[in-house]
Amino acid sequence: MVSLMRRRKKTPADLEVVQTTVVPVTAAVEQVEIPAEDPFHTYLVTMGAPVEIKELELASPTLQRLRELGVEVVIPLVGQGELLGALYLGGRLSDQPYSTDDRKLLGNLASQVAPAMQVAQLVREQQIEAKERERIQQELQVAALIQHTLLPKELPQRTGWSVDAFYRPARSVGGDFYDFIDLHDGRLGVTIGDVTDKGVPAALVMATCRSMLRAAASRHDAPGAVLADVNDTLVDEIPPAMFVTCLYAIIDTRSGEMTIANAGHNLPYIRTDDGVVELRATGMPLGLMTDMPYEERTYRFEDGDIMVLTSDGITEAHDPAGEMYGFSRLMGRVASQVAEGDVVGSLVADVEKHTGPNAEQEDDITLVVVKRTASAEEAAGVFETGVSSGKTVLTAFSVASEEGNERIAIDKVVEAVTVLGLSLVQLERLKTAVGETVMNAIEHGNQFREDLDVAVEVATSDEGVVVSVTDHGGDRAIAQTEAPDIEAKLAGEQSPRGWGLFLIEQMVDELNTSTGDGLHTVELVMNREGGR
């Protein structure tokens, strides 16, 4: 009788029978396992060859059991010092003892079976790991989709005010969110929040909290009452050990008056002519316990004041040495760097400078910036309901103007758009378009100058993916190339080169260019569905 047993792991419970042939001494032998702590286990591993157990002297319960079941020879299947299984042989049908040739044959068989079993086991383990990775990836895509769907598609537009927002998910997708709520009488509700935990659970809580905030905002005029209402409702809905930090501000866009309440979120910083104001209002995070009070604070915006709301993905971003970006650094940057121009861009760039060029983002990064651009008198009585074309920025980065760096840009763009579920065809087209555009920016726009970077921003809009590539060639006319004609090129009548712009145009649904302030920007738009 031959009984082949396979051991997947070192635990005896994992032993299992995979094959039985020849005349069984008894079916019970199939169930005999060789525990790792049994001396017979060690003996078999050490021998690594057929063992006649009749005369073997070992204090082994397993050995005794095998003898009782009529087993005469045990052939260990050993791979890389591990007992993978064993062949159990009873007496020969001819009642003759096993010959040297028999043992040699069985030994050879075992030596071939053991590695095959090991390979099969590895393949199975890899398949299980691959399925697990796929499941996690799908979950992350679902979480990202939920967040992307619920974040505002448009930025509010108010005369005398400028509003900007930035959201970039971490690879594991946290629970950051922000929202703008159109209230009556020219008031604008602004929320920013962060759900503890990551992935689908955080995304679902974020979606729930956002809906509750909107509903409560329609019932209450005071932000403290809004947060208290949401908190009381959320306590019963939120999973254990989860909570939400959230800041809610109501801005009267006519008077410039703002009232905030804060449920444990990062404090807002307001840059004024006299320095940075930290607007402190206390309150417990949402979802922990009912009947919590939420303190309110008010502030009156003056012309030029800028309010910066952040998530902890910014303040808790670490540099390579492990130092956090921190509140004091953020406050300092708000004071020194955001007076003019692209506030969001300058802050994100500063955080990226802190973390280093190749650092993986640890947590979602969210920024909301509200600036008063006109006096109360100018803005008074004017309330526009129009909206600008909004977009959610997935990533923004820059590459040095060195040959080949378009590959870095391609990789980063691909990483950023993974959550959007583009088809393979669209993804490949986008890769080519981005590569060619960045290559043009490096070569023509920045003329390979080491001191000039190429800036790349990847965003989603209602239409689809928008990739903007900016170089410093805005004041310099870019040489127009002839439309590529393959026949002319093959005949030597046209340079073999000059395919770049042609390829870009063919790869994307829309190609926009703009110049200004010495910069040249190419915007690549790939529609979400259908594509080219």
């Binding site: 060195e402 040959e403 080949g404 760096n405 378009e406 590959r407 870095i408 065809v425 490949e428 087209r429 080519t432 590569g435 060619e436 290559m439 590529p484 393959i486 090129k489 093959l490 005949a491 030597g492 340079s495 073999p496 080169r497 000059g498 395919w499 770049g500 042609f502 390829l503 063919q506």
Partner: protein, 115 residues
Amino acid sequence: MPGTEFGATVDKDGVDTVIHMHGDVNRSAQDGLATASIEAKGGPGRLLFDFVDVDYINSTGIALIVGVLAQARASGREVGAFGLTDHYRELFQITRLSDFMTIYDNQNAATAAGK
């Protein structure tokens, strides 16, 4: 330079001459491809480009292919290619390179077509 370094070998032992390429077909491929095309000139039969181990081709790479194609056509030599991904097949169609070189799925198909 980021990416995969280009390399090429020329196989002249068969019915056709095959330039086996690997790595990125971009500006970095200029010297390697030029050397390979010179070596391929004296080879038998058609000139076949093997793209099996190529996963990146940019506009400069296309220009390099156009240059080698132009030389081969000038000497009356038929040119083909195999191993292109679906995306690069599309690029070869858009640029009309595929009007002047036959695109095969793989080397077996290319070889069979030459018999």
